[in-house]
């Protein structure tokens, strides 16, 4: 059972990172954390809670 208060978006490409963070921040999540998922592929993991 997943925590309903949290959401994690993986494999976010570099050129969509800003938009993805913006969408999460505008979706009532109070804390958004960005981590580098794959340095070579330049993808990110974003967790919102």
């Amino acid at each position: 059972m997943a925590d309903p208060t949290k959401i994690t978006m993986t494999d976010v490409p570099d050129n969509q990172l800003e938009n993805a963070v913006r969408v999460l921040v505008n979706s009532q999540y109070e804390k958004v954390t960005v981590e580098v998922q794959n340095k070579k592929k330049r993808t990110y993991r974003i967790t919102a809670e």
Partner: protein, 291 residues
């Protein structure tokens, strides 16, 4: 009470010194009574839990029941939800363990204080085999000790002395009603909107065992769907006043189309998760292409 599911528990030992308090974990009245009968200042003892049994529901069944109830009663849960950190929790007990009887064995602690007690320092058997009435005498002694114990004021339950010497005493105590001595439970965080968060073990919470927080709902950004990038860019577009009106437009559209759950907290999933590819296509056609 019919056939009850049995439960067994390990026995445990304890040490008692007068004035030092008595921590037995269970409200066993027989221990202070026995201490009084033997006139002990300090003692070692052990307690064996007997007639143990358990009642409960499986975690699956309890989860279903609790979640059904919570879905019908968010207003009640909202009353108890904390708006600050740490959150409030709902503790749900799904199994209890009960004991009907305990056996207590007490023995005098060896210390310097008994050195001058004229022979009482040794463990003198009260059963004297050389006497022809030994069995009857010993039986009478135990009965008298039992009466003394009963008169010491044990509300409800019963005490029975099983064996006695000058240094030790063994007794059985039956509780008036079975005593709950343990439980299994889980903790549900109460969310501000009256919902329940992810449950975790009460044992972990009480023993402060670190548990790995759940990452929540995990989904991969659907980069192969060109509508993902279009929808993300559209949602992130700022108007002249510095607001993001398209996110509100999408929520209104989702509500109009009866996507209640998606409208409340799943906009990021609708925008980027592979499972919403069809819905995203519809959104792009109806909201973005018609602008």
């Amino acid at each position: 009470m019919g056939i009850r599911p049995g439960a067994a528990f390990p026995s445990y030992s304890f040490e008692f010194k007068r004035g030092g308090g008595l921590s037995l974990a269970l409200p066993v009245q027989g221990v202070p009574v026995a201490m009084g009968l033997l006139g002990l200042d300090s003692a070692y003892g052990s307690i064996t839990i007997k007639d143990g049994f358990t009642y409960g529901l499986s975690e699956d069944l309890m989860l279903d029941t609790v979640l059904d109830w919570a879905a019908r009663n968010p207003r009640i849960l909202k009353l108890y939800a904390s708006t600050n950190n740490p959150p409030s929790y709902l503790r749900v007990v799904n199994r209890v363990f009960l004991a009907g009887e305990v056996s207590v064995f007490l023995t005098k602690a060896r210390s310097g204080s008994v050195a001058g007690s004229a022979g009482l320092g040794r463990d003198t058997p009260l059963f004297d085999g050389s006497n022809s009435n030994a069995v009857q005498n010993y039986s009478n002694l135990l009965t008298q000790l039992g009466r003394l114990a009963e008169s010491s004021g044990l509300p409800g339950g019963s005490l029975k002395i099983a064996a006695a010497t000058t240094r030790s005493l063994s007794l059985h105590e039956r509780f008036r009603r079975p005593l709950i001595i343990g439980y299994l439970a889980m903790e549900f965080p109460l969310l501000p909107d009256g919902g329940l968060g992810l449950p975790f073990s009460t044992l972990d919470a009480l023993t402060k065992k670190k548990f790995k927080p759940s990452p929540g709902r995990v989904f991969s950004y659907d980069a192969t769907d060109e509508n993902t990038g279009r929808l993300m860019a559209w949602l992130s577009r700022k108007d002249a006043a510095g607001h993001y009106p398209n996110q509100e437009k999408l929520v209104e559209w989702l509500l109009r189309k009866k996507f209640q759950t998606q409208a409340v907290r799943e906009v990021p999933l609708v925008a980027a998760a592979p499972e919403y590819r069809e819905l995203r296509k519809q959104i792009v056609e109806e909201l973005i292409n018609r602008e």
